[in-house]
Symmetry: D2
Subunit: 116 residues, 4 copies
Amino acid sequence: MNDQETPIAELKELVREFVAERDWRQFHTPKNISMALAIEAAELMEHFQWLTPEQSRAVAKQDKDLAAVAEELADVVCYALALANELGIDLAASMELKMVKNRQKYPAEKYRGKYK
Amino acid sequence: MNDQETPIAELKELVREFVAERDWRQFHTPKNISMALAIEAAELMEHFQWLTPEQSRAVAKQDKDLAAVAEELADVVCYALALANELGIDLAASMELKMVKNRQKYPAEKYRGKYK
Amino acid sequence: MNDQETPIAELKELVREFVAERDWRQFHTPKNISMALAIEAAELMEHFQWLTPEQSRAVAKQDKDLAAVAEELADVVCYALALANELGIDLAASMELKMVKNRQKYPAEKYRGKYK
Amino acid sequence: MNDQETPIAELKELVREFVAERDWRQFHTPKNISMALAIEAAELMEHFQWLTPEQSRAVAKQDKDLAAVAEELADVVCYALALANELGIDLAASMELKMVKNRQKYPAEKYRGKYK
């Protein structure tokens, strides 16, 4: 699987199947999944916690650290997809809609080079 | 856009373009993005904070609440994609790899109906 | 040490000394401490992640689980105190002030038994 | 109230009373409080999200930003105390115990100027 060819739906199915095989939907209330997602996001953040901004960029070139970060990021995305599965959310449609809002909220000419 | 037809790469490009147009890559150190991702995950969790497990499942049937949750989830995924962009991570490949590990760590027959 | 007799300042001093002995103030930017605090909060949450509301209350009566939770909570408070140390914040004064605001925002008669 | 003179127990009582007056203990399962704590920690982190390390240190000298950060930190501590109340945890004792463990895990001579 790779990002160029894999539609979101295929990743959603991967997660759905994993959860179904273990009969874990009973634990997968949206509340619990949102907690799991926040916990995985914190574990991802842990990799960058004490790094300088420059050191955090350098992770891109350190194979071992990068693999560890990619694994944590995969965990985050797994739970994002699990929540989408549980609530029947179309992620691509939601992202498209949110990006329209973001473009209105942060016009490029006004926010160029500024975060606020 | 919809999950059935949209490859991950297309969503990544949507985010990459938005960031580039605003010249925001200077703020997008992996460290900062990991913080932003954790913050969005907390905002998502906020929607379920005081709900009972049952009430959290019922969000799937409440149009207004569901739209709000979908928007927060889109924010989470945006930053997950921004981090993948910045570090050159292939998300689908990472997820496939992680699911292999997860299947070894949590054999279906042993974990059926149990989370530990 | 116990809650009845220990002033906040004494706990702050405990943390300040620990950090100073290791020459860790260089890593203790408010930004980094805020990340560490969020990470510890997630580790605390992890203990309750898959529990029902009732199971989470029952932790109060399970010595081993309670000790583990108390340890995570101590980590959270350590970083809260480290941040107060670094920024020169008086926590008791800040809490007193915030509780005045909270009482105005959530009048008892209006919010009794309701969280919103 | 100030950190020099206020024992932890007095802050715990402030929170206990606030919760009792609103009949909010029904929502204050340890699970829910741990979520609230993580959410407040994320809101605190939001103040430092896009700042450089140096800018985050400079918050100590900016009255308005500092007051906002102190307020978020108070929220974090409120929920830490609420959890201690709900589970019957003595925070000072837990911190003293944890600092002993920390001293063993991170001997000063070995970790001086190093975070790992």
